[in-house]
Every structure is written in structure tokens, then in C-alpha cells.
Symmetry: C2
Subunit: 205 residues, 2 copies
DNA sequence: GTCTATAAATTGATAGAC
DNA sequence: GTCTATCAATTTATAGAC
């Protein structure tokens, strides 16, 4: 059974099944992990190549460059956040219910896309692609602020905290997950429930 | 009244009064500001010199080097946090009262030392001095965790959230201030009260 | 696809004149 | 104290052999 005698499709599948060790996606995973450990600017392409177990030149064969890696990671995180806005749970019911759903979906997105969102939330805006990522992030912030503002106007949340301030506090609480949450330590269900509960109990009228 | 005829002490005072434009402290302020804008690793000594309005070489005349600037800034932030542990308000009364005081003092420290604490909370631990700063920071985290644990054991805080998780959430909320608080926008009193209130109301039994 | 070699630019830091 | 000039190391990225 030599590979030569097999049809092309079979070869492609076999290749995929044994998980080609170095495809663009797995190298992105490696890069994002190292970026999060040492910081994006504190990581050299040599660091990434070593973490992947190949030479720097081979690494470049698979990826466009350092900034493209960061942009791809940010896009993945931002796509996850954007999907929340379009989720039916974010569009029906009272504002306070939509807010609770959005908070829950956000915590879940933070957990499932943790490395990517971590990188996104640390972006400083030094380059053009970083500025673009920050702009998309601000879109989500505005969406969240509108939701909190509406819930307060509905009389469902305490009125002694400014809407903009309340939003920043609640999403600051939620986003702080990237600083301490590590998969496998605490069941993610418990983290989701505790986080949403703590945020909303403190905020309710 | 020529400078030549004045005694040395007078000259020194006059020099100090007109605020020598480039002393080590004011250059640290400049450096910390730029570090926070572009990230520590994303900032070059050339960037710092330009921000200070002098050449890179002149800048080096006043400061030891890049890492020393970071260490000095972290030390200042950590000194502010350490002072909280030694504050009488953190040592008397029930654990839940001490916790409320510590939360309030922490928010106040974040606000008064904002640039320094911001830099500290972003340190990744890449160098020896950064690792040392992270270790001092962990000391404060342990102190905070003990306080929350005790308050839960006292029956003053809700028991359905793990002490370690509750601590991370509450201090995640408090520390998120560095991401959005900017002096002069919202009165600091309002931020302190709202932050402490939101955190504790959500946490109380 | 992988590698060694190297280019081209930047960086932290210093030398030494004024 | 400030500057220009420069060093030595590092960094992003490419060339080209296998």
C-alpha cells in the first residue's frame, strides 16, 4: 500500500488525519500562547519558531509575519464578540434580561476563546491593524453601554450609578477573567454562574 | 543680585524652586506615561527621550536604564499597596468590615497612583526585576484572599461562591479601573463609592 | 518544507566633544 | 547637561541551497 497508488483525495485526507504538524492554524495557536506569556512586543519571531520547534525561516514559510498573527488572533476574538450581538438571546425580552444573556454569553466567549480574547484585550493600538481591532472593540462596548442604559431606564437596575460607569464596572469584572481564569481548574459552569450572578446582584434595583 | 554672589544653599534652593526641568522623578513620570500608552516592550529609549524633549544620550544621563525605570515604577505602586495592609482600617473590626475598608483603600490607591499601578498590573514577568514585582503582588493577593475567606467563614458574605473565586472576581472588578478610569472625567469619590458598593452588594449574604 | 546565511533596520547603551 | 556618533546585540524578514 504505497502512497503513490492512492488517489489524491485519499492522500489529502490521510494528511489531514495525521494532523499536519505545521499548518497556519496550529502555528497561530502557538504564537498566541507565547504572545500571552511574554507580551506581543516582548516576543520575537525567533521565540515563536522555537516554541513551534522549527527554524525561524521555516516559521515564515507558514505565516505572513508577526503583525498578521496578531491581527488574525484579534479577528477571531472579535468575531466571537460580534456573534453575541447577533444572538437571539441578545435581542428579545426586557433590556435587563438581554443584558443578563449578553453577560453570560460574554463570559462563555471569554472562556472558549480565552487566548485570543486575552490578546485582544491587551492590544495597545500601536499599529494600524491594532487600531482597527480597538475600533471593533469599541463597537461592542457601545452595544453593551446601550443595553445597561436601557435597563436602568426601565427601572430594573439601581439608579445611583451612572450608566456608563456601571457598564465599565460590570464589563471590567467580566473581562478580568483573562487575568486569572485557567481552563480545567474551576468548572467553567461555576465561573459563568458566579460571575454573572455577582455582577447582576450588585447592579439590580 | 548675581548668582555668583549668593551662597551655595540659596543657589540650590533657587534651582529646586524653578523645578529643574529634568530630574530623575519627572523623567520617571514621562517614562511611565509612555510605557502605559505603547506598552513597556513597545517603547524604545528613543521614544522616551523624545517625549521628554531631549536626546537619548541626555536621557541616559539622568536615568540608569529602561529596566530600572520599570522597577522604580513598580516599587512605587507596590509601596502603595503594602501601605494598605498596614493601615489601621485593615486591622480592626469584623473581616467583612476590614474587607470593605481594604477595597475602598485599594480603589483610592489605584486612583492616586494610577499610572504606576497600571504599569504594575501589566507586568508579564519577563525579567528578574519583573518577577520580583510579581512576587510582591502575589503577597497582596494572598492577604486579600485571606480576608474574603474569613468574611465568608463569619457568615457575612454569600457562601455559594468559592472564596478564591470571589476574591478574584472582586479584585478583578476593582483592578479593572486601570482600563477605563481617567482622572477628571468622573469625580473620584463617585468612582470609589460605586465600585465598592457594586462589589460588596453582590457579595453580601 | 526545512535549513543556514544574511540583509536591513532598530534597540539599549556608551564614548567623548562641547 | 547636552549633544553627535557609534557600538554591539537583537529583530523582522528574505535569499537560496537542499
Amino acid at each position: 500500500m504505497t502512497a503513490v497508488s492512492e488517489p489524491r483525495a485519499t492522500k489529502a485526507i490521510a494528511r489531514a488525519r495525521r494532523r499536519a504538524p505545521y499548518d497556519a492554524e496550529s502555528l497561530l495557536d502557538v504564537a498566541v500562547q507565547v504572545f500571552n506569556e511574554r507580551g506581543y512586543d516582548g516576543t520575537s519571531m525567533e521565540d515563536l519558531a522555537q516554541a513551534a520547534g522549527i527554524s525561524k525561516s521555516s516559521f515564515y514559510h507558514h505565516v505572513e509575519g508577526k503583525e498578521a498573527l496578531l491581527a488574525a488572533a484579534c479577528d477571531r476574538a472579535l468575531d466571537a464578540l460580534t456573534a453575541i450581538r447577533e444572538d437571539p438571546l441578545a435581542q428579545e425580552g426586557r433590556a435587563v434580561e438581554r443584558l443578563e444573556n449578553v453577560l453570560r454569553l460574554t463570559v462563555m466567549a471569554l472562556i472558549t476563546e480565552l487566548p485570543y480574547v486575552t490578546l485582544l484585550l491587551r492590544v495597545r493600538g500601536n499599529t494600524a491593524s491594532e487600531k482597527k481591532a480597538l475600533e471593533r472593540r469599541r463597537d461592542f462596548d457601545r452595544f453593551a453601554t446601550d443595553l445597561v442604559t436601557q435597563a436602568i431606564a426601565d427601572g430594573d437596575l439601581r439608579t445611583d450609578i451612572e450608566p456608563a460607569l456601571a457598564t465599565k464596572l460590570v464589563f471590567g469584572l467580566v473581562n478580568s477573567l483573562i487575568e486569572w481564569y485557567r481552563p480545567g481548574r474551576t468548572p467553567s459552569d461555576e465561573v459563568v454562574n458566579s460571575t454573572v450572578s455577582l455582577a447582576l446582584v450588585g447592579l439590580r434595583a
